[in-house]
């Protein structure tokens, strides 16, 4: 391999990439838009539950509910309470009966009505029910006859609520990296389709030089954008070296994928078609981070999981090398496997 030749080819590829208005537009636009979206998203998590309360007779225990993550707002009628819940003003509405004290005194069970919106998450519903029972116990002076012992298995991330924009951060970074797959695959596919590759291969350029140049171009384009994005939005405030390493491994991953797409494709539309299929699969792990519980264990079979998971853990929880090494190792293995498949597939097309 010759550094002079590889340098000339990389310069040529970068020049051609940025002359393609479509790919230049989506590259710059993607970078800017993701940053804008990131900065306009909430930077803190509102953990308070806003609850409406209709209480003709206020009980001391209910008066003490304010604080501790609850925001209680009194309403003047049960109808207003229902309206507030329906309109999303409160996650739940509690209506106390007028004769609640008499019922307590006589040992009868008062009926407390709780209203929820139709789309309320099950865990909120459960939490409010538990809260009311607890208050009732407090009001009647009967303590719960159980004690709760809590134990956290694995890294204790309980209470470390992540603002929505930071939860989106791995998705944005991965989107930026992966969008480069289209541009790179198209660049290679055009080289084959327009037979410019034949012109290169009758000069001292070897197939190894070509792969090295394409690899460097692809990795550079993907890595620089993702690293720039992470640096600007503060994603490298914790463990920047691990973030850089994982982004670099991610860039190698998508370059291998772009080789495969280029080998499968004949022309721009074909690149887009194959690219979309493969990218949708690679995006799935990112949705798992955005919506915890949305995906199950099988997602670990997708190599991009280890990219997304590492970016998430490191940038949002400050995970160190000890936590990240396994993901990095798996990602490196996936990089090598995909690069090898890509080179083999593309090599056949070059010939």
């Amino acid at each position: 391999m010759s550094l002079r030749i590889i340098g000339a080819l990389v310069a040529k590829d970068l020049s051609l990439f940025f002359r393609n208005r479509f790919f230049t537009l989506i590259t710059v636009l993607g970078l800017v838009l993701y940053m804008v979206i990131y900065f306009i998203m909430p930077k803190a998590v509102n953990e308070n539950l806003e609850i409406g309360l209709y209480a003709p007779v206020m009980l001391p225990a209910f008066e003490q509910m304010q604080g501790e993550g609850l925001e209680i707002e009194g309403v003047e009628s049960e109808e207003l309470l229902k309206e507030g819940v329906t309109e999303g003003q409160y996650v739940a509405g509690i209506a106390l009966p007028a004769d609640i004290i008499e019922d307590f005194m006589s040992g009868q069970k008062p009926i407390i009505s709780v209203y929820f919106a139709s789309d309320v998450p099950e865990e909120i519903k459960d939490a409010v029910e538990v809260l009311i029972r607890e208050l009732a116990y407090q009001q009647t002076g009967q303590a719960l006859t159980i004690e709760i012992s809590e134990e956290i298995l694995g890294a204790d991330m309980a209470g470390m609520q992540i603002p929505p924009r930071d939860r989106m951060r791995p998705l944005f970074a991965v989107l930026l990296i992966m969008m480069e797959t289209f541009g790179m695959a198209n660049l290679i596919s055009e080289e084959v389709e327009r037979r410019t590759i034949n012109a290169l291969l009758v000069t001292p350029v070897s197939v190894k030089d070509l792969f090295a140049a394409k690899g460097i171009t692809g990795v550079s384009l993907a890595f620089v954008q993702a690293a720039l994005f992470m640096a600007i939005i503060g994603g490298m405030s914790r463990q920047p070296l691990i973030i850089l390493v994982v982004l670099l491994l991610g860039a190698v991953l998508v370059t291998g994928v772009s080789f495969i797409i280029a080998a499968l494709s004949k022309g721009f539309m074909s690149v887009l078609a194959w690219g979309m299929i493969i990218l949708i699969i690679l995006f799935i792990p990112a949705f798992g981070i955005m919506f915890p519980g949305a995906v199950t264990g099988w997602v670990k079979a997708i190599p991009s999981y280890y990219l997304v998971d590492t970016v998430h853990r490191v940038s949002n929880f400050g995970a160190g090398w000890g936590d990240a090494w396994y993901n990095l190792l798996v990602l490196l293995g996936a990089d090598l496997a995909l690069a090898w498949i890509g080179i083999m597939a593309l090599g056949r097309r070059f010939r």
Binding site: I5, L9, A199, L201, V202, T203, P204
Partner: protein, 288 residues
């Protein structure tokens, strides 16, 4: 005596069941122009691919500038220039950028891009994107690209196909200039007149084999028939064609008889063309 720039020994290539090149052998001397002729699918491009290191022969050996092509591809490719039949330029780049890229790939240190553009008639258009060029301009740029490294062996695959007469003439002049410089030229073409005019020798290729290889003059001597073509005026005043084959024992008598019996209006001698010779050897035309 000049040494050989190209030596092909029993060169063979096949694609699956199809034998594209079937044990062909030939040599081209340094500074010689070899016209490589044959119909589409005869195997000409496959031969170029093997000689330029794009394909590894299935059997036989190709030697360029005393180097085994298969074993010294990088060194061989540094000394050759290839002009492809199909346009394969970077169309989003300018002519100057295309030429400078290839100069860098060849490691050419001093390179007068303007002089090269002037040579192929593209002065003043060097900064335009190639996508805006006409077919003739692109073809001339392809030829220019094949010259950036001042190649010792130049492979030109149908360099004038589909071009206007001016562009074709410009490319023919460049071929002759390159020969003057000492370069060896391997030229494939469908244009028999072009091959006749430019080539020191021509090789006819048919169905993967070389069926004839010699100078155009010798081939005409060996396979062609010279003739006298005459136009005669009949009693009704109509013009009719007459032909007398030359170089036969009966020729003098036939000429005497023509002048005695007919009213000859025009008469001229005509040599056999390379196409006639190809047809007489293979029984098929070059276009098919």
């Amino acid at each position: 005596m000049a040494s050989d720039a190209i030596v092909a020994e029993e060169l063979t290539y096949w694609y699956g069941e199809l034998v594209a090149v079937d044990h062909i052998s030939f040599n081209v001397a340094e500074g010689e122009i070899l016209g490589f002729l044959g119909p589409n699918g005869a195997g000409k491009t496959t031969v170029i691919k093997m000689l330029t290191g794009q394909l590894r022969p299935k059997a036989g050996k190709a030697t360029l500038l005393s180097m085994d092509v298969a074993k010294n591809v990088d060194r061989v490719q540094g000394d050759i220039g290839v002009c492809f039949e199909e346009t394969n330029l970077y169309e989003q780049m300018s002519a100057i950028e295309n030429l400078k890229l290839f100069a860098r790939l060849f490691g050419v240190q001093s390179f007068d891009v303007e002089a090269l553009l002037r040579r192929v008639g593209l002065t003043g258009r060097g900064k335009d994107r190639v996508a805006a060029y006409s077919k003739g301009m692109k073809q001339r740029l392809m030829v220019a690209r094949s010259l950036v490294n001042r190649p010792r062996v130049l492979f030109l695959d149908e360099p004038t196909a589909g071009l206007d007469p001016t562009s074709s003439e410009s490319i023919r002049n460049i071929i002759l200039e390159e020969r003057e410089r000492g370069a060896t030229v391997f030229l494939t073409t469908h244009d028999m007149l072009e091959a006749d005019k430019l080539s020191d020798r021509v090789a006819f290729m048919n169905q993967g084999k070389i069926v004839a290889l010699d100078t155009p003059h010798n081939l005409k001597q060996q396979y062609g028939k010279r003739a006298l073509k005459a136009k005669v005026s009949t009693e009704s005043g109509k013009l009719e064609d007459r032909e007398v084959i030359l170089d036969t024992p009966g020729t003098p008598g036939a000429i005497q008889e023509l002048f005695a019996r007919e009213k000859v209006v025009t008469i001229h001698s005509e040599e056999a063309s390379l196409e006639d010779i190809f047809i007489s050897i293979t029984g098929r035309g070059l276009q098919g």
